[in-house]
């Protein structure tokens, strides 16, 4: 069995997408996780539920509304058009935006749990040792939450690699631009190219298993797929 150029381009595109999305999610998700882990605001449960929505929503629903929002008539679409960026659907940046929403809970919840597990005490100790709020965050909270960050990055990456419905809704099936692995497998099956489909599908099974094995070895998948409370 030989992978065709299309397959290789799908693999490359998927890795590029997942890496970029994971990076963005760590940047966006960390402050959200910090806030969720520490706030006493009544909005906490509302925000927590919103972040967790992609876990239960069918990807098609999420993709549908993202398509509307990002499309030429949608609020985000009009904004991007006004900024001269054009419409995002059916582009790689569009995929990135959609994936960030789709994988958000898988990154936020492990980090949130890790922050919550640290408790207040180490941060208080750091304050009595003259550490400013920023220093307390970067020198104490982040290093102590390291296992949570590793879990978050692995889960975010793996989950983005595995997405299908949202991609199909928002990105379509454009080779080299939005045609990711899962879509490519779908194409092969549609075309009755089962051997090709096997090659990619089996690869994904092995990849996912290895990632999860790593996570369980780290002991990091407690409550990760749950509510994050």
């Amino acid at each position: 069995m030989e992978l065709k150029a299309d397959d290789w381009s799908a693999i490359w595109l998927t890795l590029k997408l997942a890496s970029l999305v994971t990076l963005l999610l760590l940047v966006v998700g960390t402050p959200i996780a910090w806030w969720l882990a520490r706030t006493r605001s009544k909005l906490r449960s509302v925000v927590g539920a919103l972040v967790a929505l992609p876990i239960v929503l069918p990807p098609t629903v999420l993709g549908f509304y993202l398509l509307l929002a990002l499309g030429p008539q949608g609020p985000v679409g009009q904004l991007t058009a006004a900024l001269g960026l054009g419409a995002l659907p059916f582009t790689f940046p569009g995929l990135v935006v959609a994936s960030v929403f789709y994988s958000l809970p898988f990154v936020v919840q492990p980090i949130q749990n890790a922050f919550a597990a640290i408790g207040e005490r180490p941060l208080e100790v750091a304050a009595t040792l003259r550490a400013s709020p920023w220093e307390r965050f970067f020198r104490v909270a982040v290093p102590l939450a390291r296992p949570g960050f590793i879990t978050a990055a692995l889960l975010g990456f793996a989950h983005t690699v595995g997405e299908f419905g949202v991609v199909l809704m928002i990105g379509g099936n454009i080779p080299g631009k939005t045609q990711v692995l899962s879509v490519q497998i779908y194409n092969h099956v549609e075309g009755l190219e089962y051997t090709q489909a096997h090659g990619l599908a089996a690869g994904l099974v092995v990849f996912s298993f290895v990632v999860l094995l790593g996570l369980y070895r780290l002991g990091g998948v407690r409550n990760t797929l749950g509510t994050g409370q």
Partner: protein, 358 residues
């Protein structure tokens, strides 16, 4: 200006913390009281970890003043804080824990040297270790050194020995005493253990239900009989003595103090050294005449200064004066009446046992 002023008012779950204290700006002040009396909360207010209404001033430096809308956040207050459990940073080595605070202090403001702190707490050999491999006592010594290395103007200690067993406590107490003797840093020391207070404190604040019952010098306060029943089982005085002689035949050591002398089982102390004794009220009884035959060795002529109620209605506390040294006795009210005890009466204080506390 050499004093600590703390005024704090903060509603808590069961009561309102309401303290207005002026404390000496040097030496060790113990905040003493039962669990849940607001000691720790008061300490947290001084540190800025909890926010009460009021004012905090430390040796002329204002940390909080609601009237001026001034509230320095904790990391801007030059204090050291030792928590009940050592709370070392698990992701850092012992050395990195110690450096965490130190490196945030400008070199010109460092008054406690690296070597001095390591030597004072005996932790030089632990530097390369991870925190998980330390014993409870070692962890707490590292935590104390870490706080000291920030050259604090005030050291706050929240029951630093409470999480340790008796042996570890004995291991750390000498270090705390050296801290007291060698550093001119005022210390606020929260405790509910009378032993520690007697051993370390110069000044004592008694707290109950968030209120200050009494504040004064340790010796003076402990000999008062009007103190709350909270103190009852623990009621004791501290007597400073010097080792006078050893009796080899009977294996006893004689300790002299201004009011007389006390004999204890032989101690490995050189003649002339200081020995601090704790004498608990429940270990002191009263006799009317010196010629009563008894097995009790330590019998001191005393005069009755006053009475007070004790926690149990069967008991009462008697304040005695032994040639200038105050002593407390806890006796039954029945004995008081049978012996016809009254203020001003000369009696004999019989001391059943004493504890050497340093």
């Amino acid at each position: 200006m050499n004093e600590l002023c703390v005024r704090a008012r903060l509603p808590l779950a069961d009561f309102t913390l309401d303290a207005d204290l002026t404390l000496p700006g040097r030496g060790v002040t113990a905040l003493f009281g039962p669990s849940g009396s607001g000691k720790t909360t008061l300490l947290r207010c001084v540190a800025g970890l909890a926010r009460a209404a009021g004012r905090v001033e430390v040796n002329g430096e204002c940390w909080q003043d609601d009237a001026r809308r001034l509230f320095l956040p904790t990391h801007r207050r030059p204090l050291g804080y030792v928590f009940q459990e050592a709370s070392l940073f698990a992701h850092l080595s012992v050395r990195a824990n110690l450096e965490f605070g130190l490196k945030r202090i400008p070199a010109a403001e460092r008054r406690v040297g690296w070597d001095a702190a390591l030597e004072l707490l005996g932790i030089g050999h632990l530097l390369a270790r991870g925190t998980a491999t330390l014993s409870g006592g070692e962890r707490q010594r590292v935590a104390i050194a870490r706080a000291l290395l920030t050259s604090p103007r005030l050291l706050l200690m929240d029951e630093p020995l409470a999480a340790l067993d008796a042996r570890r406590k004995q291991e750390i107490l000498p270090y705390l005493e050296r801290l007291h003797d060698e550093l001119a840093i005022p210390v606020l020391y929260v405790s509910h253990a009378m032993d520690e207070v007697l051993r370390l404190a110069d000044h004592l604040v008694l707290l109950e239900q968030g209120r200050v019952l009494a504040s004064g010098s340790c010796a003076e306060l402990l000999a008062r009989v009007d103190l709350p029943p909270a103190l009852d089982e623990e009621a004791a005085v501290r007597v400073d003595t010097t080792v006078a002689a050893h009796d080899d035949a009977y294996q006893l050591t004689r300790l002299d103090f201004s009011g007389g002398s006390i004999q204890v089982t032989r101690k490995a102390l050189a003649v002339g050294t200081r020995a601090r004794l704790k004498i608990q009220a429940r270990d002191v009884s009263i006799a009317l005449a010196t010629h009563d035959r008894t097995s009790i060795v330590n019998r001191l002529p005393a005069r009755i200064c006053g009475f007070a109620a004790a926690a149990h209605p069967a008991h009462c506390l008697v304040r005695l004066d032994v040639a200038g040294t105050p002593l407390l006795a806890r006796i039954t009210r029945l004995s008081k009446d049978q012996l016809g005890l009254a203020e001003g009466m000369p009696v004999v204080a019989q001391i059943k046992s004493v504890a050497l506390i340093g």
